[in-house]
Symmetry: C2
Subunit: 118 residues, 2 copies
DNA sequence: GCGACATATGCCTATATGGGCATATGATGA
DNA sequence: TCATCATATGCCCATATAGGCATATGTCGC
């Protein structure tokens, strides 16, 4: 099997830095494709392709306005990422580093006992 | 160009669900490769390969203990993900939905004025 | 109707992935 | 020394990606 499609997940869609840039640009409000092309400094077809991926995972919505398409952010699909990564927050929070060290040492001892006991 | 390597980023490394499972398993404390194989129910070579990726982006550290390798979680590389996705939290927080709607409408009006004014 | 504008799609290439399988490497205990 | 266990690597394949470029589609003003 190859890598999972970029349109599988928010996780996969957002692994691309340009796509994150697009979303970042949309935080400020709705943007036209041309707006985004200018902000990102990328060729228009490439931006359209990235937008397609974002659309397919539901991270953006489109609205037609004359000959332009206005893109709007929809962050909901990012919630799973937030929820997942939140569980690791204490790993880099200075305040918990000592506590973590102690807890992990305790767990190691338990595991070592379990292994030896079997 | 192809997609960025999985070892480029925590973003890319973590796009793989099995790799997230491995990290999740390591939250409970250090684990042996065999432990992980049992927990994930995957063939050992595959687990070793995923571990390699996680090692290369610094998400896990290894320690040799006899003929086993004991893997330990290192969440620090996840911080950029957390920091990035945090900016989108209000998108799915019910409490802010109304406010966001109003703000976005205001911004739309401004943009429309800007566009028409040019 | 027509030419300019805005956007999406198609086709092409290089790349490296996830997984399957066999095997190399290394440590252990008898 | 040798068989066994624990782990990592190598080779194979199918897949689809990001980007480049040309072009299709659709809309506007005139």
């Amino acid at each position: 099997m190859a890598r999972a499609a970029t349109t599988t997940d928010a996780f996969n869609a957002v692994a691309e830095p340009r796509r994150r840039e697009i979303l970042d640009a949309l935080i400020g409000g709705e943007r036209t494709v041309t707006d985004l092309v200018e902000v990102l400094g990328l060729p228009q077809p490439l931006v359209s392709k990235h937008l397609r991926v974002l659309r397919e995972v539901g991270l953006v919505d489109v609205r037609e306005e004359g000959r332009q398409r206005v893109y709007r952010l929809n962050g909901h699909p990012l919630k799973p990422i937030h929820d997942w990564v939140k569980n690791y927050e204490r790993t880099w929070t200075q305040r918990f580093d000592r506590l973590d060290a102690v807890l992990e040492e305790l767990k190691e001892m338990e595991q070592r006992n379990d292994r030896d006991g079997e």
